[in-house]
Amino acid sequence: MFDTLLPYLLAGVSVGGQYALIAVGYTLVYGILRLINFAHGDIFTAAGFFMVYLVASVPLPLAIPLVIILTVVLGFVVERVAYKPLRSAPRMSIMISAIGVSYLLQNLMWYVTGGLAKQYPVLPGLSQTIQIGSATTKLVTIVTPILTIALVVALVMLINHTKIGMAMRAVSVDFETSQLMGIKINNVISVTFIIGSAMAAIGSLLYFTNYTAVTPTVGAMPGLKAFVAAVFGGIGSIPGAMIGALIIGICENLIKAAGWTAFSDAFTFALLIVVLLFRPTGLFGEKTTDKV
């Protein structure tokens, strides 16, 4: 029994870890701006394309940091151009702007790549095939959860023990008061987007090493699932996002194992709706009351 399930669990943990890295970006941004950043999945895709194009011109050890830097720049620019001008606008406007950015990024990537799938470069080591018990898989499957946990721990430390982390917490609790207290809101928001994008870039390195084709819309589904993970774990909570993502990754693979393959995506949404109805604050979210 365990031998049959092991490959599914491994795949689930691996893809869950990759969702987790995307989910961190959602949960941070939502925690501070109360914005579902619909463009986050596309920023993840863009990181994939950066790698494809960079590897063609620079050596791999240089390409990896460059991918992270470019993705961070993209995330930063998106926030400054598309979200900052709308800070005082109704929340619906910012969300529409996020949908617009997503539409733009997808169309832009379609144009640049000619709408065809690109083969992701092989990262030596990570792509190697290994044997675990009864399962054969790529090394990245094992590396992903370890790296994810390490990054999440580091991020939690950053938020709990540094000045900028304290500022982020303050802004997420009360936007206006923290502004009055002298916190530079715009800087804090930029830092949030930078962290989120960097995580998405690392996530894309792992994800595309496992699933080697990059297309302009490849990030849409993982993006939505990562968002569901963030809601499931309790939006605003980073460890919650990680655990939510791992659970979703594993469930998805077990559902496929049970033969319900057509519904593996639908399951994620069903889970979302159930969570929203019965425990809207998620697993680890704090209870908030609506202010009039």
């Binding site: 049959t4 083969q119 095939t129 699933y211 033969g259």
Partner: protein, 387 residues
């Protein structure tokens, strides 16, 4: 603001329809050059363009007409296909060639039928393309045939239980999968059928399912984007049984994915570049030289000069269209519709003559093996109906 919009609207409405130049006949090319099937669609366009470069004119009523190709991208999506088809029709094409992919052909078919423009299917293999559209003809074999061929071949490889994996919402794959299942069960085999959704990247669970169900062959007719992922992940999980698919898998993307890996991939297709028939050999030599002369065309072919079967079919489709125009002796779409059923043509992919439904009577498929060492397709065998 409003006045401006009104003005723009008014001007746009007055933009005159296309000014018809003298003695030009337009042939529409209805193919995907982006999306899941973009890679294959581009190869099909190359075949058509090559044919056009060899026969750029046609004589109608004693006058020489220049053939102009009007290429529209249907993006491999059924909803985009409709507007691409409308765009072709609005540009007054006399006949349409395409498409790679059955779903887009069926979606476009209605638009062509409504406008009375005949269409010649190049590599769309689903029976309903021609069955449900009186204006569609086709020059390749059909899925019931192809599915049977691959089921027989799976049996020959010694398989007893097949894992059939297709994409939800893709007419081509789902249809071909059904015919394979029918034929394979008829041969006494067992089948496990599963679907993946559009945009899936993670195929690990599907491959695990194949293994845990004790299957010893995988049949996965799908677009090359997904095929490359399936092959890569199957190889990563150390799959020892063969992967089979239909004509879409005869593509450089498959060769790249299989290259250097320990995996066995077979597909059926319409043509083999090592065919020793005179017409085929001449086409292969000429087409390779034509590709090598232009780096842009080389890129569209997948970066090498391997002749894809769909390019050969595209070549034949263009020539069938010219034959129909000559037979009709008119650039008028209605006249071509009248003439098409009677057209016969000796093409590089075999003789073409249409039956009552509008399908070419073709009875031979080529089975090829994606060689992981050489990165090329090896010819395995030809298979006919009833074998």
């Amino acid at each position: 603001m409003k006045k401006l919009i009104a003005l723009v609207l008014a001007v746009m409405l007055l933009v005159p329809a296309f000014a018809m130049a003298d003695n030009v006949i337009r042939i529409g090319v209805f193919e995907p050059s982006t999306g899941d099937n973009g890679a294959g669609g581009k190869q099909e366009i190359l075949g058509i363009e090559y044919a056009n470069s060899l026969a750029p004119t046609v004589t109608i009523g004693g006058e020489e007409y220049t053939v102009e190709l009007v290429i529209e991208d249907n993006q491999s999506l059924t909803d985009k296909a409709i507007s691409a088809a409308q765009s072709l029709v609005s540009k007054d094409v006399s006949v349409v060639l395409g498409s790679y992919g059955s779903g887009v052909s069926m979606a476009g078919g209605d638009v062509f039928a409504e406008a009375g423009v005949p269409a010649i299917g190049v590599s769309c293999t689903n029976p309903n393309v021609t069955l449900l559209c009186d204006y569609y003809w086709r020059i390749c074999f059909l899925d019931p045939f192809q599915g049977t061929v691959m089921a027989n071949f799976a049996k020959e490889l010694g398989a007893t239980k097949a894992y059939v994996l297709t994409m939800l919402g893709e007419d081509y794959g789902v249809g071909l999968g059904k015919y394979f299942v029918e034929a394979f069960k008829g041969l006494g085999g067992e089948v496990v059928e599963e679907n993946f959704t559009e945009g899936t990247s993670d195929f690990a669970a599907y491959i695990n399912n194949a293994v845990s169900n004790g299957c010893d062959v995988v049949f996965a007719p799908c677009a090359t984007t997904y095929a490359a992922l399936i092959i890569d992940q199957a190889a990563a999980q150390g799959i020892s049984f063969p992967l089979l698919a239909g004509d879409t898998w005869e593509n450089s993307a498959i060769l790249n994915a299989a290259k250097g890996k320990n995996i066995k991939v077979y597909c059926s297709t319409f043509f083999d570049e090592n065919d020793d028939a005179a017409a085929a050999a001449e086409f292969v030599t000429g087409f390779k030289a034509w590709l090598n002369a232009d780096s842009g065309k080389m890129t569209n072919n997948g970066g090498n000069d391997i002749v894809a079967a769909v390019s050969a079919l595209g070549f034949d489709a263009y020539n069938v269209a010219l034959a129909a125009i000559k037979a009709a002796d008119s650039a008028d779409a209605a006249a071509i519709v009248e003439a098409l059923p009677g057209v016969t043509y000796e093409g590089v992919t075999g003789a073409i003559a249409f039956d009552d439904v509008g399908d070419a009577k073709k009875d031979m498929a080529y089975i090829k093996f994606a060689n992981p060492e050489t990165g090329a397709f090896d010819f395995v065998k030809t298979q006919k109906v009833g074998e």
